[in-house]
Symmetry: C2
Subunit: 294 residues, 2 copies
Amino acid sequence: MVILDGKKISNEIKEEIAAEVSQMKERGEKVPHLAAVLVGNDGASLTYVGSKVRSCKKIGFESTLIHLPEETTEDELLKKVHQLNTDDSIDGYIVQLPLPKHIDEQKVLMAVDPDKDVDGFHPVNFGKMALDMESFISATPFGIMELLRRYKVDTEGKHVVVIGRSHIVGRPISILMSQKGEAANCTVTLTHSRTKNMTELTLQADIIVSALGVPHFLKEDMVKDGVVIIDVGITRVPDESKERGYYIAGDVDFESVSKKASFITPVPGGVGPMTIAMLLKNTLLARERHRNIK
Amino acid sequence: MVILDGKKISNEIKEEIAAEVSQMKERGEKVPHLAAVLVGNDGASLTYVGSKVRSCKKIGFESTLIHLPEETTEDELLKKVHQLNTDDSIDGYIVQLPLPKHIDEQKVLMAVDPDKDVDGFHPVNFGKMALDMESFISATPFGIMELLRRYKVDTEGKHVVVIGRSHIVGRPISILMSQKGEAANCTVTLTHSRTKNMTELTLQADIIVSALGVPHFLKEDMVKDGVVIIDVGITRVPDESKERGYYIAGDVDFESVSKKASFITPVPGGVGPMTIAMLLKNTLLARERHRNIK
């Protein structure tokens, strides 16, 4: 059994990007610049955005944090988005979700220039991804693909069962893994809350990608020997014995399932760390594409 | 066993659209206007486009056929596309594929204004479809969904096996049927040329959508009793006994499979006739959306 070590791989990716940034600097080129827009003071969002900004600094990117107050209006946010679209110094930016309830998230995401949409949330990027055209692939599915590629997991003709049909994980990974190419060419079954015969399906799976958000959902008796497990679930489970008052649980009952698996991601330390690495990768791609246009 | 009669349903849809157009006329409103661009003299394309234009006339739409010579350059075609984008009298238009080899199809499709893209081929429409936003859904998958809805085929929680991952049928129908909503909420398995255990999968399927283009591929021993069969294959098989020199074959061995099926589409007369009806429906939607903006 091999642990798919997202922490290690994400560090390798960051080091590779840092090396590219050094070369850019040596050549006197502009380095990639990521901006992040945060509205309000949601605790988790502050943590995520802070971590993204710190990662930028570490690898030599420029970064800008735009922290707007909770009471920012939709119009004010849209104005900021348009400003970022036209600011040539910014290569890519993200609008941290969730937004306060008085703001229409979809409207804001639609306003982001697709060429700077390093989160890959704009429909034109999603459509290009689905149609196998050059685009920005959102960080979590992109991270899963990269993890499979780096560990040279054999996917060709394999049966993948994806659990969960969310727009940010289940749907895109089901598309990517059924396309042609590396870490792909799989037969993919997309399952969700209405699926009636979940265990029957997971028992057939060569690869399972679980993005359900139900701690310890996937148990030993639901998988076959040699299965590859990608656990995207990250749930905070209350636990008074911990100093923080909770622990982080994946969808997969790691202890029992790992005994049957050929490859498995831990939680934490699996898919999670890959997402920031792939956001940085997308920002590097954005810089390179903008450079090539000019 | 119930035949999913695409010819009958498509006629019903056309009548419904014609009734709406009559009302538009009575109210003194502009009627929907579809344009079709055809480059060159490919026989099948001429037939398709001619049939689309005739259907427009029958239901009271305005229609314009723009027939350009084979030697039209990419630039000339792009100029025509831009002209159609800015012509307010045109609600929607299609560029008939395939284009001559010296023209980059993708470049042309990307130039079509998504709000007039009644074929639903532009990535932004594909992305919106995949993200469950209002868009134009391309005619074949849209037609399949409509056929299932009109016959009230129970799809909730059913296992659908889609055969073929093309961008115009297999991929979009696999997405649509796994979303929430009517004729959907299915568990969907997308299979293709690299799938190793095809029969194992089709034998589990409650619903099979075959878009492979291999005549008589799906046989009796590959399906279970009560299966719902949607046959999207349309292949011309040479046959000297026919006056035309060929007959039209689907992917499904109709005679044997229909004995086990609860619902089945014939070929011809199943999915085929639905596509023109849904193109007209999209053009009506385009008119309504443009009217609502103004």
